[in-house]
Symmetry: C2
């Protein structure tokens, strides 16, 4: 936890440029006690979910709560203008990826069903809104960011393509990571990007044609078959200037 | 397992351009039975550890062994001319990273001790040569590669710098991932690279000066603090053309 994130209702009233009180319970209190070994007078990095970042002085820490005096004086790091469309992976992989995706500064995550996406994955509780939010917050804490990526779930490919992606990719570079594509993936793309990463086993031909048909460009990542967990940061490193 | 890797002693005698017999037991036999649901007559992608890749026909599969007729007719994908020097992370992270590093095609991994590397990590069994090899093989199977990255362990920073890195980085681009460095990390570097990735908590100032003193260039990755697991693929994506 490189930055303790406060929920709006944990932060006391007051002008935004003045120190305000906050009271924290649960996981973050325990983390402050057991991992950070915080004591009264210590300073912690903090942020307000959806808001600014800054620092806090520990006023008190006991078995019940962590009391802070908080000053939020800076903006969080800018998001990358990158929207990731990701075929739903296995639930434990998805759970870990959520934190990674938040830490990487991806603006929006669109979780997609494709022909080779296992249908049973959609029943997993990792897709519950609360679960998703909790995992995203861990990634934001790691990266010292406060702004949750938007997450959207589309189980069915056709409406995703027609109703969501087709209108949305106008004015963006839309890339499809597809082994064997004739063009290799570009580096350091300026401007907004929509990137579609398929399931283990890849896209079926029909999906590739459909996505190319609305303006996606298929790009190759070389002869190595990689798991989705390293592919996402690899593509962020490659595509983002 | 996108490619079943054979050990040299599992492959029968014969001219290298002719089909040869192989007999597989243990984890890979079980994987062929339970995950691939292989049957006599099926074809599997195979490779010889340290050698070529190709395909195999299943001759028989029973509770004891998988019998194959193997033809190794292609070279594995080229390695990236990238040497990674990595401060030893927490053992479970290290174990997962070994497979990722092998799958990414990194040529050599130098595991390093730094001021902020937890000393107890060096006692972990994940550093046993057999454990390391097993994890690397999983990454090679994933990526359809056969060539194990070289792995070297250096617990002490000073001899690593003087005796290993200083002579070895001649003629290479040597980069140090260091938050706050004035230059940002380059994209698509031609030629061989040595990349040093520090521990959680970063390098101490002295280490940065020492490494810059022998020719490392500190490069920044932006304001987000990332875990080492996504940082490694992110840097590979960014640096490798």
């Amino acid at each position: 936890m490189n930055c303790l994130l406060l929920e709006p209702d944990e932060l006391g009233e007051g002008p935004p440029d003045q120190p305000r009180r906050a009271r924290i319970e649960g996981r973050r209190r325990r983390h402050a006690e057991e991992i950070l070994r915080a004591e009264a007078g210590d300073r912690l990095r903090v942020g307000l979910v959806g808001g600014r970042i800054g620092s806090a002085r520990v006023l008190a820490l006991d078995a019940e709560a962590l009391e802070l005096e908080v000053l939020l004086d800076r903006d969080p790091p800018a998001k990358r203008p990158l929207e990731l469309v990701l075929a739903l992976p296995r639930p434990p992989v998805f759970r870990r990826l959520l934190s990674t995706i938040a830490s990487l500064g991806i603006t929006r995550l669109v979780v997609a069903g494709t022909a080779r996406t296992e249908g049973s994955f959609w029943q997993s509780h990792v897709l519950d809104a609360e679960e998703i939010r909790a995992r995203l917050l861990l990634g934001l804490e790691q990266a010292r960011d406060t702004v949750l990526p938007q997450v959207e779930l589309y189980r069915y490919f056709e409406p995703l393509v027609d109703e969501v992606l087709a209108p949305r990719i106008a004015g963006r570079r839309a890339l499809l990571a597809h082994p064997g594509a004739p063009n290799s993936c570009p580096h350091a793309v300026d401007g907004p990007i929509t990137l579609f990463v398929g399931p283990e086993g890849g896209f079926v031909d029909y999906e590739v044609s459909r996505l190319e048909g609305i303006g996606f460009e298929s790009v190759d990542l070389g002869p190595r078959v990689l798991r989705v967990e390293p592919v996402v940061p690899l593509l962020v490193g490659r595509l983002c200037p």
